[in-house]
């Protein structure tokens, strides 16, 4: 692809080029933080859905606690940021336009799945977007396929299974050990434990998901020549990413919380605690190894596992199947949007290209937000009886007898 080679010949620190670069860099950083925000509210449910569903925490309290712990978690580990920044694509071939287009792919897919109430992976949306735009810009050799498969695709397949196994064993143990407690005492006691385990998941989410945006901003800084290849995320990047994901979490993705808490399995508090403990353990362990796994996949695997581990519990496999389908499509779909965004920006060229891309992004965000108002899910109706749809159908008030 000859047009790609041309762009690498352009001077990177010529005076005129420099100004354009800085404008684009600022836009990319803002877009990245915007993605981080969607990441926060898309994933609040991973930590808090089961606690909200069992009534261990009030909906508003739950999202507030989760927001704060995401902030703390973001500072806890930088291993995943390193994977994203330099483990997936050849940083020498990535330009700011590539990063911007990749982010656009991630945001659009994240918002679409949120609208449908599907807990898909924010991480895969982001990684898919970046890979798609890199492919469009520089071709297949710019993608580190080995890193992609070994650090993203395989963990994505294995992590829900491991988490589900741990949660199923945990659930079985909890019911076995507490079988002499009365139903009321058991639910009461485990609700307290559940608050602790839900907090651990929020913390784990911060160590994993906030890192991904840090990694992307670091990638942008490397692409701009501000940082050298292989550098760690600077402190201001860590801080702004931590804040963006924590505010996003606080806003609360009620649609996804509802699907996870009510749609998949009807959950009792011992199951909630088992699911959350399994999620937290698997996410924190994997983050330490630099695996950028999806907290969403892990949380869903755990919730299904806890349904399998309890005798007589019913897993709604239809809902689970719909989710799994969305998971498979997330990487390629976000990649297609990312590639299209790059192609458009490249056709227009330079700073205007990126700006046109972002204007289109804002328009799409506006349309999706407008659509979501039609079937509102918020902290008031998040726990309503599951009737097969994300937005609870209006229950007619029982006529006064």
């Amino acid at each position: 692809m000859p047009f790609v080679r041309l762009s690498t010949l352009l001077p990177r620190d010529g005076n005129a080029g420099r100004v354009g670069n800085d404008v684009v860099l600022v836009l990319v950083v803002i877009t990245a933080l915007g993605f981080d925000f969607t990441n926060g509210f898309h994933d609040t449910g991973n930590a808090m859905a089961t606690s909200i569903a069992t009534g261990a925490l009030g909906p508003r309290t739950a999202v507030a606690i989760s927001g704060v712990l995401n902030l703390v978690g973001a500072f806890l580990s930088l291993a995943v940021a390193a994977t994203i920044a330099s483990g997936l694509v050849d940083t020498n071939l990535v330009t700011l336009t590539v990063v911007a287009a990749g982010l656009i792919g991630g945001i659009i897919w994240n918002l679409l799945t949120w609208l449908l109430g599907i807990p898909s992976s924010s991480s895969h949306a982001l990684i898919g977007g970046v890979i798609g735009s890199t492919l469009a810009a520089a071709g297949g050799h710019a993608v580190k396929w080995h890193g992609l498969v070994s650090k993203v695709v395989l963990p994505a397949c294995l992590s829900p299974i491991i988490a589900g196994l741990v949660a199923a064993i945990g659930t079985w143990l909890l019911y076995r050990i507490s079988r002499n407690l009365t139903h009321a005492a058991r639910n009461h006691g485990f609700r307290i434990g559940q608050i602790g385990s839900a907090c651990m998941v929020s913390l784990a989410h911060g160590t994993n998901d906030a890192q991904k945006t840090m990694g992307v901003i670091t990638l942008a800084l490397i692409a701009n020549g501000t940082l050298h290849s292989g550098a760690n995320a600077p402190f201001w990047v860590i801080l702004t990413c931590a804040l963006a994901i924590s505010i996003g979490t606080y806003v609360g993705g009620w649609r996804v919380i509802r699907t996870l808490g009510k749609g998949l399995v009807e959950i009792e508090s011992p199951q909630g605690m088992a699911a959350e403990s399994a999620s937290a353990a698997v996410i924190l362990l994997s983050a330490s190894f630099g695996y950028s796994l999806s907290t969403t996949h892990v949380a869903t695997g755990s919730i299904i596992g806890t349904g399998i581990g309890k005798k007589g519990a019913e897993v709604r496999w239809g809902v689970a199947g719909r989710m799994a389908t969305a998971w498979v499509f997330t990487l390629p779909s976000a990649a297609v949007v990312g590639a299209a965004a790059y192609a458009l920006a490249h056709a227009i060229g330079g700073t205007p290209g990126v700006i046109v891309d972002l204007v289109i992004l804002l328009a799409v965000v506006g349309v999706i937000y407008w659509r979501s108002r039609g079937s509102k899910v918020d902290h008031n109706n998040v726990n309503d009886e599951w009737t097969g749809s994300v937005a609870p159908t209006e229950q007619p008030e029982p006529a006064a007898a």
Partner: protein
């Protein structure tokens, strides 16, 4: 270059089971021993009774030990994650 890091996989599985299923099981053990005692005995047969603290001293001590082990394990885990998660940056390639 291998596609799958088996060492990491079994570590995640084993430590995942210990922390993700073992610690909640320990919590359940703590709850169980906390609920032992005269109050629970008095309410025996009442399926609606919501008695978390049963009143037995030995039970409470055992429960406290369980809960402390859990807190210590969580604290140690967070410390480990912090240690592993702040590697030295690779120096710029020349």
């Amino acid at each position: 270059m291998s596609w799958i890091n088996l060492t990491a996989l079994w570590k995640i599985l084993v430590f995942g089971l210990i922390a993700g299923a073992g610690l909640p099981a320990l919590f359940a053990t703590g709850l169980f021993s906390l609920s032992r005692g005269p109050k629970t005995a008095a309410a025996a047969g009442d399926a609606e009774a919501d008695i978390v603290v049963g009143g037995s001293v030995a039970g409470m001590v055992l429960a406290a030990i369980c809960f402390l082990i859990i807190l210590a394990a969580i604290g140690w885990g967070i410390y480990e994650v912090y240690q592993i998660g702040h590697p030295a940056p690779t120096p710029p390639a020349k």
